[in-house]
Symmetry: C2
Amino acid sequence: MTKRKPIPSLELVAPVLTGKVAAIARLLTRAEIGDEEASEALAEIYRHTGQAAIVGVTGVAGSGKSTLIQRLVAAIRNGSRTVAVVAVDPTSPFSGGAILGDRVRMHSFANDPGVFIRSMATRGALGGLARTTLEAVDVLDAAGFDIVLIETVGVGQDEIDVLRSAHTIVVVSAPGLGDDVQAIKAGILEIADIHAVSKCDRTDSSKTLTDLKNMLTMNMSCQQRSGWSSPVVATSALDGQGTVELLDHIDNHLAFLKSSGEITARRQRIAEWRLLQSAEDLLHSEFVKHRDGRLSSFTQQLMSRETSPRIAAKQLVDNIFRENRS
Amino acid sequence: MTKRKPIPSLELVAPVLTGKVAAIARLLTRAEIGDEEASEALAEIYRHTGQAAIVGVTGVAGSGKSTLIQRLVAAIRNGSRTVAVVAVDPTSPFSGGAILGDRVRMHSFANDPGVFIRSMATRGALGGLARTTLEAVDVLDAAGFDIVLIETVGVGQDEIDVLRSAHTIVVVSAPGLGDDVQAIKAGILEIADIHAVSKCDRTDSSKTLTDLKNMLTMNMSCQQRSGWSSPVVATSALDGQGTVELLDHIDNHLAFLKSSGEITARRQRIAEWRLLQSAEDLLHSEFVKHRDGRLSSFTQQLMSRETSPRIAAKQLVDNIFRENRS
């Protein structure tokens, strides 16, 4: 039996652009593993992006954000728009489900071509989570999905980088997680465009809502500067309370960005982040190439305390890029 | 009134090495803000490191890891050893406490010179969390603390990088957080040298203990390869149950690393990580320098979709390092 040659990534671009699911899935996998062969195709994909509304949804584990996203996906479909979900939350049932086995999945959408769900591996990746996630978002954007939701737990620099690449950021808080407003603790209060409080069927949710609103009042000054005042939406996964309202706020926020011209600043910030992420990845791959060679001599010097990490790094980077030039 | 000139960082090295608290605190701040002036001093500090036992303690928010650390600090002091805590967990009361105001602090240790506690800022840092944290650990190591505890929530690449720089990693799980073993979900099960289950005064903790032990049995093959079998310790912050046992396991693990020679592999891995972190930071600072200049022209090209992030990053890096050379 001869092994079938894989389809060149460049040949996947055309079917991705017409929304072919198999091609999308395949290109996503190649983006995720950082396949060098795919970089030309991803560059081509990038040229066709910029149409989708990119919405980041974040909240700590147990905040109910995954269930809220399910409701949100249903609401988007009810309005006949298409939606893709990229889960980069290691605690998400979408990405964590494969291990625990008994988690909620998005079964109800399995036969709907207007919904695409993808979980990104967060383990073992030598850097690159942010870049590969954003390349996945590119593929789904270019494939024509109206809305791309990025689900993340919002802790750690990588995840915050991913969030910063969204047009609209929804932060999900929940009552009874040991603290009233978890978003503050995670340091993501100030990046929220919209606050959703989940589990509002619970009696202790009113305290969470009040605390959050008070907190926002205190922070009012910085909000008014941008002209957008982040709404607080009470939601419940039990009866779907607040889902339509949340979607309305998401739409309103994008409309606000466009009408105020703020969208340009945001797009510029996103482009800058992408550039930084890609450069970091470039550095990583150069390092991996040299791991057994000159990298190891620097490592030895560090272990014997002959040099310091900053000095050694400077010499090594200098070394690698000089060689690339000659 | 003339403004007093700050003490040059290099002059702080000698008092840090003799354990002077004011000098330690000052150098930590300069390391944290990434002060270029401090880099020579930090290089000198690095030469005096390698004596402390570096212990990473991780667990999701609400796992009770902060309370466990308080107990652990007390146990270490009972044994007359000195200990420093570096909190890089954005959900930690040590770092998050400043905002919420009403959180538990380590008041009881405030007058004990054998304990030093430092929380690292995780917000606003353009990269660099891992590097600055490890430089803080260097300062405390060189200052002569016997044990340096690094507290992190263990989610996100940055935090996992920090953990990988510890000699011993303790993963804290708790009953009743919506999932039985949160560590698995966060993908950190396999990096644990020791498992601690908190809140074992609760009746539902036995299920957590059993689940965790079963999970470890399934993973036995990879553990036996290294010769160390990760113990599971039942702890309770209420009565201090398991704290002494946990400290014994930490000591045993370090003894195992030394007797098995495994410590060399671990030190090599740590040195490699440090090198990568520092190189990344170098790249970041070069980028920041060029933000208003050539960086912005690449950003413009990205926004207009004339180029892709990977291609633009390659050109920019090439550009920056070529100029540095000439």
